[in-house]
Symmetry: C2
Subunit: 335 residues, 2 copies
């Protein structure tokens, strides 16, 4: 079922069918109607592959994320999609599960599909890939990884600042023995977050920290917390790499009879909706996901009103959000 079938049935040329399909050129109303009818009757659906090929543009942008299951990534994706649709673009989404090979495969897939722009909101990016993308002349946005170059916009969050705020907050509450719950992605944000935590802690004398890591899921957070606690270490506060793992950790503490924040404080990161709906509500750091999504859209899709891009690097300053999962450190003698 192709243009030719439709053309034949409507007694016109394929060129004309193409015109009515694209509202292009001027087509006599009666002709257009005949064509429309033929399309209807034949249940014709244009082949988008052929379209992209012939037209030289796919009308598509790509978004690659590490873990779509984590609302942090999903929120960004959703904003991008909304913006793209508003501009007449479709968006292709790919999930890497933090696997470097999958990232490579996804990037290749996107390029193969000839996306007109690509956002990589991942932590497992490797230098080789970055170079490859840089050379591709296609607009690219990296979140939290790589360095800005010609066609590349970089969005970074000042994690160090976020973690500092958390550590300051906890220190002010009297906490001196900390635990850090990470996830397995060792590169990028996490590495950065751990490092940032250590640095922030380092500014204070006599603070102790130990870390454990699981997957970037509720279950991963629970496991990491269990591991940390199982080792006999008893921090008075748990800094979690993000909200998802924090909620997992909360559950681990609950099952051990540890009350939050009375016996132990817990912090998240990202400020996803869940952080407000879990119990107790999470003290966390807000990362403006909608803003990030909007920046991605604007960077990837040439706005009609131009604006020469956002500049190569955008730094986001995250802010502390106080809720109920943090409180004064329990007295030293407590269980």
């Amino acid at each position: 079922m192709n243009l030719e079938h439709v053309a034949r049935r409507a007694r016109v040329s394929t060129a004309t069918v193409s015109r009515v399909l694209n509202n292009a050129g001027v087509v006599r109303v009666s002709t257009r109607q005949r064509v429309m009818q033929a399309i209807e009757e034949l249940r014709y659906h244009p082949n988008l592959h052929a379209r992209s090929l012939a037209g030289g543009r796919s009308g598509t942008i790509g978004v690659i994320v590490s873990n779509l299951e984590n609302p942090f990534f999903f929120d960004i994706y959703k904003t991008v999609e909304r913006g793209a649709h508003a501009r007449g673009y479709e968006v292709l989404i790919a999930n890497t599960d933090y696997r470097a090979e999958q990232l490579v495969a996804s990037v290749r897939l996107m390029i193969g599909r000839r996306v007109e722009g690509l956002a990589a909101v991942v932590s497992e990016m490797d230098p080789e890939l970055i170079r490859e993308l840089a050379e591709s002349r296609m607009p690219v946005v990296f979140y939290d990884v790589g360095a800005p170059r010609g066609n590349i916009v970089n969005i970074r969050v000042n994690y160090a600042r976020g973690i500092e705020r958390i550590v300051d907050h906890l220190f002010g509450l009297g906490h001196r023995r900390l635990g850090f719950i990470g996830h397995h992605a060792t590169l990028g944000p996490l590495g950065e977050r751990v490092r940032a935590a250590m640095d922030a802690v380092g500014r204070y004398p006599s603070i102790e920290v130990r870390a454990a890591a699981g997957g970037d899921t509720l279950e991963g957070g629970r496991q990491a917390a269990q591991e940390l606690l199982g080792s006999g270490y008893r921090p008075t506060a748990l800094i979690c790499v993000n909200d998802i793992t924090a909620v997992g950790a909360l559950q681990a503490l609950r099952s051990q009879g540890i009350q939050v924040p009375r016996d132990m404080s817990v912090t998240g990161f990202d400020n996803i909706a869940l952080s407000e709906f879990c119990y107790p509500g999470l003290t966390t750091v807000d990362i403006p996901r909608q803003r990030i999504g909007r920046i991605i859209c604007e960077s990837l899709i040439p706005a009609a009103e131009s604006e020469a891009g956002n500049g190569p690097e955008i730094l986001i300053e995250p802010e502390l959000v106080l809720r109920d999962s943090t409180g004064p450190a329990p007295p030293a003698g407590a269980p």
Copy 2:
């Protein structure tokens, strides 16, 4: 950058380049190497649109869901993706946000992209679309909507049974005044779920029910619960359409000082991971999402070892999962 460039540089024909790209035909090792090198040097990425067009197959299946933000849908998608990848297929995902027009757009998009199979895990399907898909000869799987036809496999969950189990459970605990938290999707599962709830309740004398609905999100659940409670109605148990909204409802109750399950019981549906991680753990009904994902895969992708499909209709019997959000109804005199 196309086959011809590569061919020229490797001093072969495009046919040969195509051969090494697809490991097809027999190519002399030395030739293959030259080609590979040219590909490398040129950073050539085959145009998948051209590939699909020429090859007559896209190597792709599509999955359309109502709300990817709800882990219920995401879990299914993830399983499908895993299975598809294992079989050498890519999967395209689309999200409708429960909007019928978006569903139509997504289906058209999928057909336009020439997916080789399509799964619709949505509640807003309309009859017209179903017919259109039925006529398309492409393998299709519907979850919870439409009727099985030639190329269409149908997966249905016995909601009525699931809800019955919940109502029985609550009735057994002494609950007589119930609330139902739905979401805005009026067709399909929700309608079915509400109806099922009413039917189940109808089997018992002297049970009262009132309903409210919000979006299929944490926030939606909270709002619906607030609305219901704000009306002055004081049920002893809240039956929520799914886990997400149940967690939202839990938060609403918490903020009103209503303790679960002491003052009020709450139930979910789906048994997503979160139902185990929220507080208190949700009594819910398990829907086997992995199984559903596997069925979708097997139905859409012709397995090498054949098997003539799963038969047109598959019925899933959900099971009750008891956790901590349900308990005895409070004595009548309680606040």
